[in-house]
C-alpha cells in the first residue's frame, strides 16, 4: 500500500478474511458462480462503508421496554450512479442495503481518435442535485472514466463533496489522478493494488470485471 494516501481515500479494514475474499475473485480459475457470490460480498461491505460517509442527525426514540435511546436518524436523500457496464454489477449490492434507492447510469468509453474518455449516454434522476451520489465502478485503473463521470455529475449541479466513489480495487496511479482532480470527493476502495501494466490493466488485479461477471 502506498505510503501517502490522499486524505479523501478510505479503504476497508484489511483483514485476513477480506484478503481471502479478494484471493477468490482474483484467481483466474474461479468459476463465474463463485465470482458473483464473493464479489457481491465485497460490494456489500463497500456499500456499507460508503454509507457511513452520509450525514446523520441525533434522534431519540423510546424502546419497547420504555427506555429512551439517544441514537441517530439517517439524513439526506441518496442515489446510486453506475458507470456502465461493470458498475451495473454493484447496483444489486446497493439495493440490498438501501431498499428502492434510485439509480442512474452513465456510459463512458474511450474515444479511439483522441484516446480520451467520452460520454456516450447518461440517465440520471431528475433531482440528482439534491441528493448524495454513490458513484459505482468496480475498478479504478487510470481514473479516466471516473473523472469523466464526476464531470458529468457536476454538470448536473451535484457538488463534488456530495459524491462518494465506491470501487473494489484501485491502482495508486488512478487514486492520484482522481483525487488530484477532485480532492473533496471521497473514495471508498476495498484494496489498493501494485499498479498498472502497459495495457492499463491493474496488476495483480482480477482481469476485466465486467467480462468475468457477465460473459465468461
Amino acid at each position: 500500500m502506498p505510503e501517502s494516501l490522499p486524505p479523501s481515500v478510505y479503504t476497508l479494514p484489511q483483514t485476513a478474511q477480506l484478503e481471502a475474499l479478494y484471493t477468490i475473485i482474483r484467481d483466474k480459475e474461479t468459476s463465474r458462480g463463485d465470482f458473483l457470490f464473493y464479489s457481491d460480498r465485497i460490494i456489500r461491505l463497500l456499500v456499507e462503508e460508503g454509507l457511513n460517509h452520509l450525514p446523520v442527525l441525533p434522534k431519540t426514540v423510546v424502546t419497547p421496554t420504555g427506555a429512551t435511546y439517544e441514537g441517530v436518524g439517517f439524513e439526506g436523500k441518496i442515489c446510486g450512479v453506475s458507470i456502465l457496464r461493470a458498475g451495473e454489477a454493484m447496483e444489486a449490492g446497493l439495493r440490498e442495503v438501501c431498499r428502492s434507492v434510485r439509480i442512474g447510469k452513465i456510459l463512458i468509453q474511450r474515444d479511439e481518435e483522441t484516446a480520451q474518455a467520452k460520454l456516450f449516454y447518461s440517465k440520471l434522476p431528475p433531482d440528482i442535485e439534491k441528493r448524495y451520489v454513490l458513484l459505482l465502478d468496480p475498478m479504478l485503473a487510470t481514473g479516466g472514466s471516473a473523472i469523466k463521470a464526476v464531470e458529468v455529475l457536476k454538470e448536473h449541479n451535484v457538488p463534488e463533496d456530495r459524491i462518494i466513489f465506491v470501487n473494489l480495487i484501485a491502482s495508486p496511479e488512478g487514486l492520484r489522478n482522481f483525487c488530484g482532480k477532485y480532492p473533496s470527493t471521497k473514495v471508498i476502495t476495498g484494496w489498493i493494488d501494485e499498479g498498472l501494466n502497459e495495457k492499463a490493466y491493474i496488476i495483480p488485479g482480477l482481469g476485466d470485471f465486467g467480462e468475468r461477471r457477465y460473459c465468461s
Binding site: 483483514t15 485476513a16 478474511q17 484478503e19 481471502a20 479478494y22 484471493t23 482474483r26 484467481d27 483466474k28 480459475e29 457470490f37 460480498r41 456489500r44 461491505l45 456499507e48 454509507l51 457511513n52 452520509l54 450525514p55 446523520v56 434522534k59 426514540v61 423510546v62 424502546t63 419497547p64 421496554t65 420504555g66 427506555a67 429512551t68 435511546y69 441514537g71 441517530v72 436518524g73 439517517f74 440490498e96 442495503v97 431498499r99 501494466n197 490493466y201 491493474i202 496488476i203 495483480p204 488485479g205 482480477l206 482481469g207 476485466d208 468475468r212
Partner: protein
C-alpha cells in the same frame, strides 16, 4: 429382542409426553404420577433419549459438568423380563428429565461373510460373549455417562448385520443398560452405579421365549427348541447366570413390583441429592454477584463490538424504536445480521494461498483454513441471524437448540436439539468451527447452556464464535467469560442495563398506544395482561435488556 427405535418414534414419544407435562421441579419427590403417562413409559423405546420435560442445567457456574449420568446395568436370562424391569423403573421414576435405555443387542459384532452364512442358517451363537463388541459397548457407555454424545451402532436382525448408519444419542441423565451379558464385561461393570440381575426360572423363561418367538416372529417350536438347547441354555449356564454374583440387587423375573419400587426409590434419592447440589450452585449464577465496576472490554477481552459507525447507530435507532414499522424492523435486522456475520468470519483461521490472476500476475493471498464450519441457532430468536450467515456462507448447515426458561425459576431448560453432522461426530467436532446465533445475551443463561452443549460434543472453546445483536454489559457476559474464556463473542451493541421484570407487563402496557397494525407487532404472543397485577399473577419473570430492542421473536 428389540429393533432400534426410529427417529419418528422418538418424535411421537416427545409429543405424547408433553401434554401431561409434570410440574417443573427438579426434585422428584412428588412426581410419581400414574395415568396416561405410565402407559407411554411402559412402552418406552430402547436406544432413544426419553424426556418428560426439558433438561435443566447439568453444570455449575464455572461451566463444569457437576456429575456423570446415573448408570444402571440390568442382566438376566433371555426372556427373563429385563426390558420389563427397565421400563418399570423408568415409569416409577416419574419426571426424570432424560432417560435412555441402551440395549446390548445394538452391539453385536459386524459379521464377515462366514459368520453371516452361519447367522442365516441359525448356526451363529448370538448368546456367546464373543458375539458382542464389548470394547465398543463400553466406549459408547463411557461417553454417555460422561455427558458426551455417542453414535451407537444399529444392528439389523433382518440382515443379521450391523448397519452403516449409527444412532446419535446425547444428554441422558439416567442410562439403563440391559442385555443378557450386561454384567459380563469388567469394563462395563465399572461404569454402572447400580447393577441388577433379573432372576427367573429356566422353564418360565423358555415358556415366554416360545410364546414370543411363535407369535411375534412366526418361528416353529422345533426351531426355537433347537436354538435353545444348542445356544441359549449353555450360554445362560456358563456366562449369564454366573454374573449374578456381581449384582447389587437380584430381582425376581415375575411379581417384582416391590423390588422395582425399592430400586426406583433408591435411584430417586440419588438423583435428588444431585438436584439439590445443582440448584444451590445455580442460584448463584446471576447478575447480582457480578462486579460492575470493571469495564467490559478489559473484563472480557474476547468480546468484539462492531465499530459504532453512523450507519450502525442509525440501524440500531430504528430497531430500538418501539414505533418502528415491522417491514423496517425485518429489513434492518437482516442488514445487521449480514454485517455481524461478515465480522464473525474474521475470527476463522486463514492460511496463505497463491493464485494467478487473469492478467497473468501472481498474487499471494489468503484462504480459509478450516475443515468444517457450521451454525447453531438458539431458537427462536437466533433465527434472524441465520439469514445473515447464509449470505456469507451459502450452503452452511445450521443446527438448532430450543432453550426456554422455566417459568417459576427462570432457569434455562434444554427442550430440543438438532445439531449439524460435523458436531454429532466427536472426531469432526474437534475440528469444527461453530457460529452460535442468538439475538441477545442478557443473563447469558441460554448462551451458557448452548456453549456447554457444544463443549460436551467436543468442540473446542476457541472454535466457538457467538454472534448476537446485543450484549447486556451488566449481564451474564461476565459469567460466560469466567467459565468459557476461549469463546469469542461478536455483537452489534453493548447495552448498559439488565433488569428483572414481569413477562407480560412492559410490552403490553406500552403497546397500548399502537393502534396501527402496520406498526411493529409487539407482544403478539402474550396479549393477556392488561394490568400489572395480571402480569404478576401470571408469575413469569424475565430479564430485560435496556435500552434493548424488545423481544425479537415477537417483532418478526
Amino acid at each position: 429382542m428389540s429393533v432400534p427405535a426410529e427417529v419418528q418414534e422418538e418424535k411421537d414419544q416427545v409429543k405424547l409426553l408433553e401434554p401431561s407435562r409434570p410440574p417443573m421441579s427438579r426434585t422428584v419427590s412428588n412426581t410419581l404420577n400414574p395415568g396416561c403417562r405410565s402407559e407411554i413409559l411402559l412402552q418406552a423405546k430402547k436406544n432413544t433419549v426419553l424426556k418428560s420435560h426439558g433438561r435443566p442445567p447439568w453444570y455449575d457456574e464455572d461451566g463444569k459438568a457437576i456429575h456423570d449420568a446415573f448408570v444402571i446395568g440390568i442382566a438376566g436370562g433371555s426372556a427373563s423380563g429385563k426390558t420389563h424391569v427397565a421400563r418399570c423403573i423408568v415409569q416409577a421414576l416419574g419426571s426424570i428429565p432424560t432417560v435412555v435405555i441402551l440395549s446390548q443387542d445394538s452391539f453385536y459384532k459386524k459379521h464377515g461373510p462366514e459368520d453371516l452364512k452361519l447367522a442365516f442358517q441359525n448356526r451363529y451363537d448370538f448368546d456367546h460373549p464373543d458375539a458382542i463388541d464389548m470394547p465398543l459397548f463400553a466406549a459408547c457407555l463411557a461417553d454417555l455417562k460422561a455427558g458426551r454424545q455417542s453414535n451407537i451402532p444399529i444392528y439389523s436382525f433382518k440382515d443379521h448385520n450391523r448397519l452403516d448408519e449409527t444412532k446419535y444419542l446425547y444428554g441422558a441423565a439416567i442410562i439403563i443398560v440391559e442385555g443378557i451379558l450386561a454384567l459380563h464385561d469388567p469394563d462395563l461393570r465399572d461404569l454402572y452405579d447400580l447393577k441388577i440381575f433379573v432372576q427367573c426360572d429356566s422353564d418360565l423363561m423358555l415358556a415366554r421365549r416360545i410364546r414370543r418367538d411363535v407369535t411375534e416372529r412366526g418361528r416353529s417350536v422345533d426351531g426355537i427348541l433347537e436354538q435353545y438347547l444348542r445356544y441359549v441354555k449353555p450360554a445362560y449356564d456358563n456366562f449369564v447366570q454366573p454374573t449374578s454374583r456381581y449384582a447389587n440387587i437380584i430381582v425376581p423375573g415375575s411379581d417384582n413390583t416391590v423390588a422395582i419400587e425399592l430400586i426406583a426409590t433408591h435411584v430417586r434419592r440419588k438423583i435428588e441429592d444431585r438436584s439439590r447440589y445443582l440448584r444451590q450452585h445455580l442460584a448463584r449464577i446471576g447478575p447480582m454477584d457480578l462486579d460492575l465496576k470493571e469495564p467490559v472490554n478489559r473484563c472480557f477481552p474476547n468480546l468484539t463490538v462492531l465499530r459504532q459507525t453512523p450507519q450502525l447507530l442509525g440501524i440500531f435507532t430504528i430497531l430500538r424504536d418501539r414505533n418502528a414499522r415491522r417491514a423496517d424492523f425485518i429489513f434492518f435486522t437482516d442488514r445487521l445480521s449480514t454485517f455481524l456475520s461478515e465480522k464473525a468470519m474474521e475470527f476463522l483461521p486463514y492460511k496463505p494461498k497463491r493464485v494467478t490472476t487473469p492478467v497473468g500476475s501472481t498474487y499471494v493471498g489468503k484462504q480459509l483454513a478450516v475443515d468444517h464450519v457450521c451454525g447453531v441457532s438458539i431458537l427462536r430468536s437466533g433465527g434472524p441471524l441465520e439469514r445473515g450467515l447464509r449470505r456469507v456462507i451459502q450452503d452452511i448447515s445450521i443446527g438448532s437448540l430450543l432453550i426456554q426458561s422455566e417459568d417459576s425459576t427462570g432457569e434455562p431448560l434444554l427442550l430440543h436439539l438438532m445439531l449439524p453432522t460435523c458436531i454429532r461426530q466427536r472426531h469432526l467436532a474437534a475440528r469444527s468451527f461453530v457460529f452460535l446465533l442468538d439475538a441477545q445475551i442478557g443473563t447469558g443463561a441460554a448462551a451458557f447452556m448452548a456453549i456447554r452443549v457444544l463443549l460436551d460434543h467436543g468442540v473446542p472453546q476457541e472454535n466457538i464464535i457467538f454472534v448476537t445483536f446485543i450484549v447486556a454489559a451488566a449481564g451474564g457476559v461476565r459469567v460466560l467469560r469466567r467459565a468459557y474464556p476461549g469463546v469469542r463473542i461478536v455483537c452489534g451493541a453493548l447495552d448498559p442495563v439488565l433488569r428483572e421484570s414481569w413477562a407480560l407487563w412492559d410490552t403490553v402496557a406500552l403497546g397500548q398506544d399502537q393502534g396501527d397494525s402496520e406498526k411493529r407487532d409487539v407482544g403478539t404472543g402474550t396479549p393477556t395482561a392488561k394490568t400489572r397485577e395480571e402480569a404478576e399473577s401470571e408469575g413469569r419473570k424475565v430479564w430485560v435488556v435496556e435500552p434493548g430492542i424488545g423481544h425479537i421473536g415477537e417483532c418478526l
